[in-house]
């Protein structure tokens, strides 16, 4: 039964590529950032580098919106702000429930175990609903993660295997973002309880970088600067040592 599900999944999405992608992205980052040190956000997109290097932050922290004032051009600043926010969006705590197929992911991009399926409403199939096991809060006694409204993002909101630009375009598109306006996107980022779980995942899980407040501030600043999207194939402004889970340059259309 398990083997059949995994076989079906392999046919549905390029699992090997998805699992290899962190390595590829790390190698890419090392190449991009290594020569100039980690202070130059060249990896952000094709925009020109800021006149003053962005501050270096530890892997698990986020730069504040003010740090991006070094970009004098508004659109470039907006793209750089999204790049920073995408360090959260493309983190495993977020991507795992935005899969590109019918099976959620867990840990650092592994298949969900027990084997579960998306189901017709992104909440599992009968007998294996998300809330058959997941509660409204983490259950430390069994290490089962939980938060209110635990469910998968619909396929239209798939982030696994996507780059920052692809995720950016999806988030801006009301046809693919649940009909949300940009102010509603900001509110969602700042206050949604399921989003908040990313910084309090419980057990031994690595939280998303920074905090929800810092992430919300970045998203708000991104919207205020025109909600521009990074260039295709761009990767987040991750300091050396950072691991952008499931991130890889785009080589084909979604």
């Amino acid at each position: 039964m398990r083997a059949r599900l995994e076989t079906a999944l392999l046919g549905a999405r390029p699992l090997a590529s998805a699992l290899l992608s962190p390595l590829l992205a790390s190698a890419l980052l090392a190449g991009l950032l290594g020569a100039a040190g980690c202070q130059t956000p060249r990896a952000q997109n094709s925009a020109t580098a800021p006149p003053v290097p962005l501050p270096v932050v530890p892997e698990r922290e986020l730069r504040a919106p003010d740090a991006f004032a070094v970009y004098s051009e508004r659109a470039e600043r907006s793209r750089a702000l999204f790049g920073e926010a995408s360090r959260v969006l493309l983190h495993a705590r977020c991507v795992n429930c935005h899969p590109s197929g019918d099976v959620p992911l867990q840990r650092q991009g592994l298949l969900h175990d027990p084997p579960v399926l998306r189901g017709p409403d992104d909440r599992g199939v009968v007998g294996m609903e998300c809330t058959s096991c997941h509660q409204d809060q983490n259950l430390e006694l069994a290490r089962v993660p939980g938060a209110p409204n635990w469910h998968l993002a619909p396929l239209s909101m798939a982030w696994a295997g996507r780059d920052a630009r692809s995720v950016c375009e999806q988030i801006k598109d009301p046809a693919r973002n649940g009909g949300k306006s940009l102010p509603q996107i900001v509110d969602h980022a700042q206050h949604d309880a399921l989003v908040a779980w990313g910084w309090g995942p419980g057990s031994e899980r690595e939280p998303a970088p920074g905090s929800q407040a810092q992430f919300g501030a970045l998203v708000a600043a991104w919207v205020e600067t025109g909600a521009e999207c990074p260039a295709p194939g761009s990767v987040p402004t991750v300091p050396l040592g950072g691991v952008p889970a499931l991130q890889r340059p785009r080589t084909e259309s979604p």
């Binding site: 599900l5 009968v126 058959s132």
Partner: protein, 152 residues
């Protein structure tokens, strides 16, 4: 804290820790021992019960979640063991050791309530979280098909 749960059709007021897993409440407080403890981590399905008709793993569900709701265990699936699945289970001689079977039947009952004629793929998908260490999966599927009136 008092928790009010209708368990197998009987309204009950229970003074228990709201964080107590339902499995402990069922087995240790109420003596309903048909529901089994397997892994304690929602990984094996032995503790499966229905909360308002939905499958839940009682080992990982705090009692407070059931407050004001209806809970059904294997003891309440039918008054006399006559549920079509229970009859099919006997006719097909499904169990080996039997430990996981209450959970298997409860998941199967939820499946048939929503999908009266499930495909084999749907059976596999819905019961993927109910493990049987004796390996009775083919007999489980055959019994579900029999209960659903699907030709062998």
């Amino acid at each position: 804290m008092s928790i009010h749960i209708t368990i197998n059709g009987k309204a009950q007021q229970l003074d228990v820790d709201p964080e107590m897993p339902l499995l402990w409440l069922l087995r240790d407080v109420l003596g309903l021992t048909g529901t089994k403890y397997g892994c304690g981590q929602a990984l094996c399905g032995a503790c499966t019960v229905h909360l308002d008709g939905q499958v839940i793993r009682s080992c990982c569900t705090p009692a407070r979640r059931a407050d004001g709701r209806s809970l059904t265990t294997i003891e309440g699936l039918s008054p006399d063991g006559s549920h079509p699945l229970q009859r099919a289970w006997v006719e097909q001689a499904v169990p080996q050791c039997g430990y996981c079977q209450a959970g298997q039947i409860m998941t199967a009952a939820a499946l048939l309530a929503r999908r009266p004629k499930p495909s084999d793929a749907e059976i596999d998908q819905s019961l993927a979280g109910n493990l049987c260490r004796c390996g009775t999966y083919t007999r489980i599927r055959a019994a579900i098909r029999k209960a659903a009136g699907i030709d062998p």
